[in-house]
Amino acid sequence: MLTVQLVQEWMKKTNERMQENKAYLTELDQAIGDSDHGINMSRGFREVVNKLEQSAYDDVSTVLKDVAMTLMSKVGGASGPLYGTAFLKLSTALKGKDIVNKEDLAAGLEAAANGIQHRGKSTTGEKTMVDVWVPVVLWWKGQDEINAEGLEKVAKEAMESTKSMEATKGRASYLQAKSVGHIDPGSTSSYYIFKSLAEVLV
């Protein structure tokens, strides 16, 4: 189940992880990208938490819309429109829901994953955040009830699976085979988002 308070908690935990791992995300991005992922994520989610603290919310959908708009305006790099689109699709899918249950969240996360793929014109196996979002959604849909522990595990394995992939999308694709052996930074920040979600789900 997800409520307004739990979404706020989800974003707080996500922000804490982005701040703690700012240098690590930058390091991952230095290897195969343009070195700005740590800065962009820490900046974006700090602003998300600031925004949520300043406002009062009645429903989950509206909180998630503010998350989306903040990420779109504050991140700066490609992850801004990608995560912004994901949270906007999630927000739209959960519109009018007072209590978000497992099925609602399945539909919402699927819409979010589709949104990322559409925005990035990307699919699985290209060493991007899609390689976390898609397997997580598929796994989630196959569960009978909310399984927080399983969610964290699936997201982590999905992130780690990007290490052996060759990048064909994003800036890392310039490196082609040289990108193999490095975990994708976008898949790592996506793992932090799902790990934080797993911690707040009840």
């Binding site: 779109m72 305006s73 504050k74 490609a78 801004g80 429109p81 990608l82 689109t85 990035g120 800036r171």
Partner: protein, 131 residues
């Protein structure tokens, strides 16, 4: 030379660098004066390198009186942010927007000059594609 007209074309410039979009805007205004409608939407809200879908959205909305709005971008996430900005607009304004493939400096410059002699957006995009 054809008579100059007040353009019904709007141009929005999207780059990671606000200096780039301001510079291109300066070039365009220097050449065309007030006959053109051009907005700079580069950089982030806090002046860093990067793009912001909400800045781009608001610059497009400022041009809503235009019949067509052409968006030029430089690279990478500038395109993603421009596409996201368009998704955030209402449908009427969405229909006016076109993201143009072409170099941002030369492309926007050619489009602006063309926009002072024709309002035919097809002709303008065709000229940009010749670059």
């Amino acid at each position: 030379m054809a008579n100059k007209i007040q353009s019904s074309i709007g141009i929005v410039l999207v780059s990671h660098s606000q200096k780039v979009t301001e510079g291109v805007k300066d070039l365009i205004l220097e050449m065309n004066g007030d006959n053109v409608n051009v907005h700079s939407a580069g950089g982030t809200e806090d002046g860093r390198l990067g793009t912001s879908a909400t800045i781009i959205m608001s610059k497009i909305e400022e041009l809503q009186e235009c019949e067509n709005i052409l968006i030029f971008y430089d690279m990478g996430s500038a395109l993603l942010s421009a596409e996201t900005a368009i998704d955030l607009l209402d449908e009427g304004l969405q229909a006016k927007c076109k993201i143009v493939e072409g170099p941002i400096v030369e492309g926007a410059f050619v489009a602006s000059v063309q926009s002072t002699i024709t309002n035919d957006v097809g002709v303008i995009v065709e000229e940009v594609s010749k670059l």
